[in-house]
Chain length 217, copies 2
DNA sequence: CGTGCCCCTGAACGGTCATTCATTTGCCGG
DNA sequence: CCGGCAAATGAATGACCGTTCAGGGGCACG
């Protein structure tokens, strides 16, 4: 193979129609999202992104310092918004850990169904950022995990959750990771054309989570 | 950024010690595994792989047709082995769907803890393969999912499983995907240095799965 | 009409990539 | 010691990458 192949076939750009509707910086962000999601950060070239929004390579650098910064900008905004709605979901669910866990699961799964592309990029392409750029995103992820751990701890201490335990101090962390893995990766296979609606998915996952942690009625 | 940065810092090669112990084709496979897992297929160069096993770039092509074929070889062998042990686990668990599901979860999670590197590569780098090379691997994955679906169906029909349902025909498929996502991604964060042993992880995940599908005692 | 200014262009730069290939190496049975 | 052959070398090839930059609109404002 001398010539580089298009390894993940691009599904195609959303038609030249509304390209020029929004400011170019937004068009670039959108095109980059699409392309990163479909083919992966390292094989998407600056030329690809800019062509997809009707510009040429050089124009990128009027809006972003580098391709790296573009990716970071994209992921950071997605991640920040995710953390925000996670806090919001828990805050608005009262004090019962069962309601908190269910609300969290529903919001988290719903978002990962609806914003599939954004979630996919944020979760898959983060590794390409250099250490300093990745730090704040990793921090945000840990914060989200700790929300779940806190809910689990409250449930266990109040006797409302009786999860399977191995006896170690890290159990709740492992369970939280297991649940988050499950919820996050909906974005990898859920398609809006499927038979199950987003709300049903959210409910299904919330039910499974409550059962998995041994929630008492 | 003109010069390319080492985006994911390589952890380092397992010392020049036993490089020459095994046949070069095995050394290449092993080195490629390590590098792909640590830094990702597109940024690992042929030179990197070959240097890691004490050879030069050109020597790769005495053993593999291309870099693509090397990746496919690696993933396909991992995936084939995984499918094999999944079938084996179910076959050796008797006829009770509860025992089948538990055995499957235990074997699957245990493998993803123990062979973290292999699992990580097989699950993350598959997208870089072209369509024809990826077909058999996708097929194998579907086969594994269908094992889980079959177990769930048997459990539901015999009344031993009472999972949360939305009423659609795709429910069991969604639940199977949710469980597999959870089990698979242990390999993304589990570290052997952690507080929980592989066997405990496997048991924890098996318990959660049985609870999630509403297994009756 | 002129003057800035923002934004875009497209060639150019220095670099890296996978792959090829003529040549050399190292090992083997005889 | 000799031929033969599989395997390794390392320079060469052709392509493409991210980024830079000098030049050029086009549009608002005086």
């Amino acid at each position: 193979m001398t010539k580089r192949k298009p390894v993940r076939t691009a599904i195609g750009v959303p038609a030249a129609a509304e390209r020029e509707q929004r400011p170019p910086i937004e068009a670039i962000r959108a095109a980059a999202f699409q392309q990163f999601a479909e083919r992966g950060y390292p094989v998407v070239t600056v030329r690809d992104i800019m062509k997809a929004c009707g510009l040429t390579q050089g124009a990128l650098y009027n809006h972003f310092k580098s391709k790296d910064e573009l990716l970071h900008d994209i992921i950071a905004s997605t991640q920040g918004e995710l953390e925000r709605i996670c806090h919001q979901a828990v805050a608005g669910a009262g004090d019962d850990p069962r309601a908190k866990l269910a609300a969290f699961a529903r919001v988290y799964v719903m978002r990962h169904c609806r914003l599939r592309v954004e979630a996919l990029v944020a979760n898959r392409e983060i590794g390409w950022l250099d250490a300093e750029r990745v730090a704040d995103i990793r921090h945000s992820r840990r914060a989200i995990r700790d929300i779940v751990v806190a809910i689990l701890r409250q449930g266990v201490e109040s006797g409302l959750f009786v999860p399977p335990l191995t006896g170690g101090r890290q159990d709740l962390k492992a369970i939280a990771m297991a649940l988050l893995d499950q919820w996050t990766h909906v974005s990898m296979w859920y398609g809006p054309g499927g038979e199950i609606a987003e709300e049903e998915m959210a409910q299904l996952y919330a039910d499974m989570a409550l059962r998995a942690v041994g929630s008492r009625p």
